[in-house]
């Protein structure tokens, strides 16, 4: 049977094999490995069987630690078991990995290798995770390409079963895990031939079973542990030969030949590079190119890294080699060199000692680092390394791909050097996430890869913001296998799918001379040229680009596609590129449309067909004028008044030139200034809200719910309006407390709004003449951008109201306080950020935040710009993200320090009482600080204290000065999502709330792992569809609030802003005021619910009205007053839960995919809701205090 050719990415290739040759799969989501688990779960839920005819069991665990424990257990009881992970996830598996290897247990973990967080988190690829598990005893096998991933997934399993050594099969995160390539798919027969059933039986025979009981996992003492450790040696010694044996067997079965160390290049090469992973592909391409030009170089691809076979290694090195560069995609600070470099030196030294040195003389060996966190690794860089090797004294411990101007490790390279083949079509497409560009390109690769003889490659680069994000697709097509594991930088086709990109990015920068430029323009053919920035015009002329223009927005509108221009632009690409005859291409596009959308109904298919049909009539070749006389200019990434760091560093990252930043400009310890989003004006929304001051009742609800803090109210003296712009609006401030000369303005930040319209939805004031209008209404942004910019700037200069004078206990007052969390990269209409922002308003000037990894750490801390901000006094939240699993503990650490420093400061005050004056000391020691007035007073005292301390030259004074600020009350906030609080971080969270320490925990409960793409958590409701719960989650949502209440001394609140904003404000204030642990569970509507985000707050209301989401506050302080601590803030459910649930795709889609199951689960969900109400209602009725007896 012929093996099918498929165009898939690395994760799918690995999962395809792993799912076929395992029985149990224990998983946990982590980028970029999550999709391997998702594929497995999907295939199992579709009933797809493994090669032995049974459907593998796929189980999501609470963490990678949990997954590895489950894997260990499943292996011990005899199942063929696997898991998928990366980065910190792999590190959490280390303890079990030692056990699994120590017990000689066959298994393969498939790892999409990713950076381990150090000075910062990075989701991108390098080998720092796999290098961190070298000592576990696992074998390490590296795949360099998508085909190899599929092949090695099988080979590693065959080896592991025979060798009894567990394996990590790894490949580069993103570059390989997400790159799409045309590959040959293995057949089940291939797998059956490779996997020896007798070895499977042997594995099962070792199972723990009461029918043949044994004991494994003893505790050993100094007498025998050491010997026990040495018992495994024969297995490790035999392993490399077994790997080669299986590679040879694979060659016989499938035809592809692999060796433990594969040499490629000139037989008599003098310079070689040694490396593993996707970078080897780029080196392969460069070696071929340079050798064809007369060079004499080679490359050694390391496949089996552990167990490292010196014998096989030396056999692979040509005798002629004089110098070797060993490249590591990891960094081991403080080591002599990185791991592979050290291994190569050791291997050759040992070889020399043993008399088996392959080369005539001991070669020069240098080590270098490349490609950390998916940094580009291009032929230009590779050539620089070969050039370096030719030198008498090549630089050792070098870096390549960066400019290290601090310790000068980096090699220079000529970025114009290229090895791209002439017959390769290299295309770049700039699109918006929302316009479907990536999806269409994935389809194009499938069409070309599967329907033509061409090889195809696709790689996709995404934005660091979740809303209005730009995507860049890099596609290659050609007659030969594609080894270019780097981005397209010599494009002969560029598609700009959004006209607005032209004002911010040089989209034709990577175009080669004579390339084709396809532009989606909302303007007429005549107008289009004038709207292009002048420098881009010049580049188009200079590069002699052939230009095509289409108004895809119009075609999309007319064919009912809305904003999705994907199939239209895809049709243009095929029509222009001529990669297939036009008619045939259109037929194939329609074929993939049918395949992609057919399952979702005929109407979608018809709509897309119609878009394809109408495209060609609207596509025009544009004759490029001779002159670049446009008046448009590209917009600077940040304004001139931005601070120096923002100008020098942040702006470069925004402009897409971050790769060029030298080491010296990057902070050395991961510390960054806050408040930088204000400088990045994204202008991503075509519509923004406009305030109607005559209708407004000044309730400030719009400001409260605004996820991006772009709606700001201010109350101020009329005098300040003297220099106001003519369109600046104001109205007399409502409220008894304000005199006649006090005015109110609600101002919108026009360039920061993402256009969610939640403000309009929540506005309670309707226009009496025309009820469709409210006090805030959406309007087109471009016509008012400039005037509103001016108004916004004026508004910012109006002083903030004195916090001491603001009644912050209600919604209206809370919103007068300046938000210190603004313009984040969260999704349009995000349900989390309004809570986060509210905390920043209420306590931001004295808050330190521990943020669990997840959505909130990404929109809170992803470069280039971050939203946590400072007030005019320079105070604001200090924020940090440690890990996913440890956030509660991390935050508790903050509290321990603050309490300790406060205690120490008070001790020092006591000691220095006479020097400092009793009154000041007493004041500082006994200050109440229960409100803003108290806090301001204490700050004043601390200032006085500092003044005095500056004049005292003693050790005590210096110590006190360094911690004096801790005398002012600090508020510790621990924030994160439900994946953290309910699952991976629950143990820590539980411990922290049990500690009694004064920390405030805000759980942004979206009921799903939002950041990694919607995987089920224990917060997911029964009946909701999520990844890993494709058939609807069968189990009930965990009642985290109830668990916390069981301690009795934890303040617990369940809130939903859309149902009761007043209760939200009240609960957050009470939680912070409570001198002990507080836990707030905040209902956060989410894009992963599949809802109209504009109506997110209405869903929150329905959630409470149906009893799905309870509103309550449990305040232990009430117990002391003889009252029941539990106060319910919601009433008996008044609507059935389905009326809430079926507005959301997560529930509704089950009625379409598994209607019977949906019905059953909805009945159970209703029962859950009824029970919850019954339980809470009864709990809240229990009498406390004297009446209790």
């Amino acid at each position: 049977m012929k093996r099918p050719l498929v165009t898939i990415d690395g994760n799918e290739a690995a999962a395809f094999v792993a799912h076929k040759i395992n029985e149990v799969i224990a998983i946990y989501p982590i980028t970029p490995s999550s999709t391997m688990g998702e594929w497995s779960d999907q295939w199992s839920s579709e009933g797809k069987k493994n090669i032995w005819g049974t459907v593998p069991t796929v189980t999501e665990m609470q963490s990678e630690g949990g997954a590895s424990g489950a894997v260990h257990g499943a292996l011990q009881t005899g199942a063929l078991t696997t898991t998928f992970t990366a980065s910190q996830g792999l590190l959490l598996m280390i303890p079990n990995m030692f056990k699994i290897a120590g017990e000689l247990t066959p298994t393969v973990f498939h790892v999409s290798a990713r950076s381990v967080a150090a000075q910062a988190l990075s989701i991108f690829g390098d080998h720092s995770d796999v290098m961190a598990v070298r000592s576990t005893g696992f074998g390490l096998l590296a795949s360099n390409s998508i085909q190899e991933i599929m092949d090695f997934a099988l080979i590693s399993q065959a080896v592991s079963l025979k060798a009894k050594i567990p394996f990590i099969h790894f490949f580069d995160g993103f570059r390989s895990s997400s790159e799409v390539q045309k590959i040959e798919q293995l057949l089940e027969d291939d797998m059956r031939t490779m996997i020896d059933d007798d070895l499977v039986f042997e594995h099962r025979k070792r199972a723990l079973t009461p029918d043949n009981p044994v004991l494994r996992g003893t505790a050993q003492n100094p007498d025998v542990f050491f010997q026990g450790r040495e018992t495994v040696n024969p297995y490790y010694l035999a392993c490399p030969d077994i790997v080669q044996e299986m590679m040879d067997k694979f060659e016989k079965v499938v035809g592809r030949k692999y060796k433990l160390f594969d040499y490629h290049g000139a037989k008599d090469a003098e310079e070689i590079i040694v490396l593993m992973g996707s970078g080897a592909e780029a080196v392969h391409e460069t070696v071929d190119y340079l050798n064809a030009q007369g060079a004499n170089i080679g490359l050694l691809k390391v496949r089996l890294y552990r167990p490292f076979s010196v014998k096989h290694f030396v056999e692979a090195i040509p005798e002629s080699v004089k110098s070797i560069a060993v490249l590591d995609r990891t960094k081991e600070p403080g080591a002599i060199g990185e791991p592979l470099y050290q291994d190569v030196i050791t291997a050759l030294t040992e070889a020399q000692t043993e008399g088996i040195l392959p080369t005539k003389v001991f070669p020069k060996i240098i080590g270098g680092r490349y490609g950390l966190s998916s940094k580009e690794f291009t032929p230009a860089m590779i050539k620089a390394i070969y050039d370096e090797l030719k030198k008498d004294k090549p630089k050792n411990h070098f870096t390549i791909g960066i400019n290290d101007d601090v310790t000068h490790t980096s090699l220079d390279f000529d970025s114009s050097f290229s090895t791209e083949g002439k017959d390769v079509i290299r295309a770049m497409f700039y699109g918006l996430g929302a316009d479907g560009t990536v999806g269409a390109n994935k389809n194009s690769i499938k069409i070309i890869g599967e329907e033509t003889e061409n090889y195809a490659q696709g790689y996709f680069v995404y934005d660091s913001k979740k809303s209005g994000s730009m995507t860049i697709s890099h596609l290659r097509f050609g007659p030969d296998p594609i080894h270019s594991t780097y981005l397209v930088n010599q494009a002969n086709f560029i598609g700009c799918h959004q006209f607005v990109f032209l004002e911010k990015y040089d989209v034709v920068a990577n175009a080669v001379e004579g390339a084709t430029f396809l532009l989606n323009s909302p303007y007429s053919l005549e107008e289009t040229w004038d709207k292009i920035p002048q420098n881009t015009q010049q580049e188009i002329i200079d590069k002699k680009l052939k230009m095509y223009v289409i108004d895809a927005y119009k075609v999309a509108r007319e064919t009912g596609m809305g904003t999705r221009t994907n199939t239209i632009m895809q049709t243009c690409f095929f029509a222009i590129s001529g990669i297939l005859p036009r008619e045939e291409a259109i037929e194939k596009i329609k074929g993939t449309i049918k395949k992609t959308y057919g399952v979702k109904g005929d109407e979608i298919v018809k709509m897309n067909f119609s878009a394809v049909d109408q495209t060609l009539a609207n596509l025009h070749e544009f004759k490029v004028p001779q002159k670049a006389d446009g008046k448009e200019k590209m917009i600077a990434p940040v304004p001139k008044e931005a601070p120096e760091f923002v100008q020098k560093v942040t702006a470069e990252i925004i402009a897409g030139r971050g790769d060029n930043l030298p080491v010296s400009l990057i902070p050395d310890d991961g510390t960054y200034p806050t408040g930088t989003t204000q400088w990045e004006k994204r202008n991503i929304s075509l519509e923004i809200p406009v305030w109607d001051e005559n209708i407004c009742i000044q309730c400030n609800k719009c400001a409260l719910v605004c996820p991006h803090a772009v709606i700001r109210p201010k109350v101020y003296s009329k005098d300040l309006l003297k220099n106001a712009p003519s369109t600046f609006k104001h109205v007399k401030a409502r409220g008894k407390e304000y005199g006649d000369d006090i005015v109110y303005t609600l101002q919108i930040a026009p360039e920061d709004c993402t256009g969610c319209a939640m403000c309009v939805d929540v506005c309670p004031a309707k226009n009496k003449q025309e009820v469709r209008l409210k006090a805030i209404n959406m309007a087109e942004q471009p016509p008012i951008r400039e005037t509103e910019k001016e108004n916004w700037d004026f508004f910012l200069n109006i002083p903030e109201m004195d916090r001491r004078e603001v009644n912050r206990t209600n919604v209206k007052g809370s919103q007068i306080l300046q938000p210190l969390f603004e313009f984040s990269g969260a999704c349009t209409g995000c349900g989390e950020t309004p809570y986060v922002k509210l905390v920043s308003q209420l306590f931001g000037d004295r808050t330190v935040i521990a943020n669990a990894t997840g959505c909130s750490s990404i929109y809170g801390g992803n470069l280039p710009t971050t939203p946590w901000a400072k007030n005019n006094e320079g105070r604001g939240p200090a924020w940090s993200n440690s890990l996913f699993e440890d956030n509660a503990e991390f935050g508790m650490g903050f509290r321990l320090t603050i309490d300790k420093q406060n205690e120490y400061a008070k001790e020092l005050l006591e000691k220095m009482k006479s020097e400092l004056g009793e009154e000041l000391v007493k004041g500082l020691q006994n200050s109440k600080q229960i409100d803003e007035v108290g806090i301001y007073k204490q700050r004043d005292r601390v200032e006085k204290l500092k003044e005095k301390l500056n004049g005292i030259d003693s050790s005590e004074a210096k110590h006190l000065l360094s911690i004096a600020d801790y005398l002012v009350k600090k508020s510790v906030w621990i924030m994160g999502g439900d994946g953290w609080a309910y699952d991976i971080g629950y143990g820590g969270l539980d411990h922290v709330i049990a500690s009694g320490k004064n920390v405030n925990i805000l759980v942004l409960d979206t009921e799903v792992y939002s950041n990694t793409g919607g995987q089920m958590s224990k917060a997911t409701a029964r009946g909701a569809v999520a990844k890993f719960a494709a058939g609807g989650k069968p189990a009930k949502k965990k009642d985290l609030g109830m668990l916390a209440m069981s301690y009795g001394n934890v303040y617990v609140a369940s809130i939903a802003m859309g149902s009761s904003d007043a209760q939200t404000v009240k609960a957050i204030l009470e939680a912070e005021a409570y001198d002990g642990p507080s836990l707030i569970l905040a209902y956060s509507h989410c894009i992963a619910h599949g809802i109209n985000m504009e109506k997110g707050l209405q869903q929150q209301k329905l959630a409470v009205d149906s009893g799905y989401w309870p509103l309550y506050r449990y305040n232990p302080e009430l117990t002391a007053e003889g009252k029941n601590p539990l106060v319910l803030d919601y009433k008996e459910p008044k609507i059935p839960v389905r009326e809430y649930a079926y507005n959301e795709t997560r529930f509704k889609m089950l009625t379409k995919s598994k209607p019977e199951e949906a019905k059953k689960l909805m009945v159970l969900l209703q029962e859950d809701v009824n029970e919850k109400w019954h339980l809470y209602n009864n709990m809240a009725k229990i009498e406390f205090g004297e009446q209790k007896a």
Binding site: Q42, K466, G601, E603, A1088, G1090, T1145
Partner: protein, 329 residues
């Protein structure tokens, strides 16, 4: 007592048919209807909007926010199969056919000439004994003339008729300038039955929130006057069967409808209000009345008080209006 009637060629054991309502969403309800004597069941409507929008809506929400951020390229698991409104409806129709012996009339609701019409054939293939086509075009656009709207109604009927072999009933609104002329046009276009009349839910206004809100008011016996009059007028003038719907709550209501010429009488509000078991109640009330008044069969009374059979046909037309006014004096 012979309660049998023939409705657009379907031989029914009695003239009582539950009309399209949410009750027929459940197979158990359809079984119950048969058990308590319903002679056929009109299923709840399959709406044009369901056919055209539901899949688009799901696609929109499943793709919202996808392929935008590297860590979350999608938010939902893929499913190989989705049953949309139309598919679910077809399944439900076949299940209903399997569950009961009485005829099942599928209801198709739409106003434009579009893809939804193709579903008529799918309904036939799924086992429908007949189709009740339900069109109601709210003429909000001042640029579209009444002639155009009327032509559109006829076109829709023709399109459906030409795609199926089973009988097609047309459930109509009363808002035609010339009901008789339209009835004739529908008759000529091939309608096997006309069902008079559809009830439309008129929205209300919520004064507190200044919102337009749906407001469902169930019918009472008073609502039957309009169809009663028009069935009386049309009886004998067209070949198509006549179905009476609106305001039938008691046995005597059904009797009145039959007397003016209805072939079947359809009930909905009564069942929603007092339960499916009311079908047997209405049938026994009918039987009792017929016994007391010595009627032998439904056929005997059918049309006996129609426009052409009464002594003073004018009572159904303008003269009756004068009389009604006088009765208030």
């Amino acid at each position: 007592m012979k309660l049998e009637t023939t409705y657009m060629g379907l031989k029914l054991k009695n003239p009582l048919v539950p009309s399209a309502s949410p009750l027929s969403k459940e197979i158990s309800n359809i079984r119950h209807m048969e058990d308590v004597g319903a002679s056929a069941v009109v299923l709840e409507s399959l709406f044009e909007e369901q056919i055209s929008h539901e899949s688009q809506e799901l696609d929109y929400f499943l793709t919202q926010g996808t392929e935008s951020y590297a860590e979350a390229l999608s938010y939902f698991p893929d499913s190989e199969v989705y049953d949309f409104g139309p598919d679910e409806y077809l399944k439900h129709l076949s299940n209903a056919k399997e569950a009961v012996d009485i005829p099942i009339i599928a209801s198709l609701n739409g106003v434009s000439i579009g893809g939804w019409i193709d579903y008529a054939q799918k309904l036939e293939n799924a086992g429908a004994d007949a189709i009740e086509l339900n069109s109601y075009y709210l003429a909000t656009n001042p640029e579209i003339s009444s002639q155009k709207i009327e032509d559109n109604y006829v076109e829709i009927l023709k399109a459906v008729k030409s795609s199926v072999k089973i009988p097609v009933a047309y459930k109509l609104s009363p808002f035609f300038t010339s009901m008789s002329a339209m009835a004739k046009r529908f008759d000529e276009a091939g309608a096997d039955a006309l069902v008079l009349f559809n009830r439309f839910y008129q929205p209300d206004i919520d004064l507190e929130n200044l919102d337009v809100i749906p407001n469902i008011v169930l019918s009472t016996s008073h609502s039957m006057r309009l169809p009663l009059r028009w069935i009386a007028i049309l009886y004998g003038k067209i070949e198509a069967s006549l179905g009476a719907t609106r305001g039938i709550h008691e046995g005597t209501d059904a009797i009145k409808m039959l007397m003016v010429g209805a072939d079947v009488t359809m009930v909905c509000s009564e069942l929603l209000r007092n339960g499916i078991k009311r079908i047997s109640g209405i049938i026994s009330e009918m039987t009792k009345w017929m016994e007391e008044n010595e009627y032998e069969s439904v056929e005997q009374m059918k049309g006996s008080m129609s426009y052409k059979s009464v002594a003073e046909p004018a009572a159904y037309s303008r003269a009756n209006y004068m009389k009604a006014l006088k009765s208030y004096i």
